[in-house]
Symmetry: C2
């Protein structure tokens, strides 16, 4: 296959992807924010999240800032900031902040060094735990500890976690498509003694 | 926080997750299939996908089979197999196949050793490329090359990749909720010279 159709196909075959903005700052106070579709849950206790960075300009600035400060934030993309979020992936100069260029607002909370995206309904403060070099294709897996978590109040339910629908979080397919989501089913924790009677349908 | 609310919360904070079944076989012909919400795109050329395994029983069988055979398949969860897929995570015995127990059908194609899930509209044959031990919490990142790809014909569009809506692929939030998806926006590749005029809204 040709390069572009291949790129689009392979970027779509894992299924729907989470839509997040990673925000950072360097030692000179220059902020950076980048859309990332590869944020992944690695563990709950300790609470560890990962994401993959490619050796591209926008993402390189993010990586440099994380290595310099040891912190970053993960911010959900809500339906009302999709366009701003998408265009953070443009190839801006080092001295330009995607916050300014894409009309997003950095906000600082509780003495945490990295900025959050003010417009986001779910904001996660992260401390770098480990940087894993994936030699197969020169990507980097960045793993961090969840250190702060801010959720719009009515999106958090103590017995069931975060309600992504109330948080207005969207998801991504491929390189350029954004989607809203409707819950269609939920099930109890699976045990061998609570299996549904699949055979009688 | 207590263990269970914490588990539910941290499993939901990355946003929506892709819904996939990983299918494997061991040298004795015993098949295994497990629901995994951590499949992630790592690169397009070579086409590399990853997923994270925890040291749990169901997932351990999957890992053992992958190490034994070097291959596995990733199969999208469509809306009509959500319940079967969910219950593959029950703690079955080693000699029981989740295919049988959860009424899914293994199918073998093109001399590939690992089974695909027949009911799935998107089936990906994978060759193990690298196993990365994440020492922070004893999880494993499994990275593989895409070697085969089967897509229901009308879900593939040469210029835009896989249409996940036509494939009827669903997504997951938290540990137990499944969602259908509606496209709400798509945008051209972001460049500094095609930024929208955010300021004039």
């Amino acid at each position: 296959m040709e390069r572009l159709p291949r790129l689009k196909l392979i970027n779509s075959i894992t299924g729907y992807k989470p839509a997040n903005l990673i925000a950072t700052i360097n030692g000179k106070g220059q902020t950076n924010v980048a859309i990332i579709s590869s944020v992944v849950h690695i563990g709950s206790d300790p609470a560890l999240l990962g994401f993959f960075m490619r050796p591209m300009v926008t993402e390189r600035h993010t990586m440099e800032n994380i290595l310099e400060t040891g912190v970053y934030t993960i911010n959900h993309i809500n339906s009302d900031i999709i366009e701003q979020a998408h265009f953070t992936s443009a190839d801006f100069e080092r001295h330009e902040s995607e916050f300014d260029k894409c009309h997003l607002t950095p906000v600082f909370k509780d003495d945490f060094l990295a900025p959050y995206v003010s417009e986001s309904n779910v904001q996660i403060g992260m401390e770098l735990a480990e940087k894993v070099d994936i030699k197969l294709n020169n990507t980097i897996l960045v793993i961090g500890y969840v250190s702060h978590l801010y959720i719009e109040q009515d999106a958090f339910i103590i017995d069931s976690g975060l309600d992504l629908k109330k948080a207005d979080t969207v998801c991504i397919s491929g390189l350029d498509s954004y989607h809203s989501v409707e819950k269609i089913a939920s099930f109890p924790f699976a045990r061998t003694n609570n299996l549904p009677d699949f055979g009688n349908r």
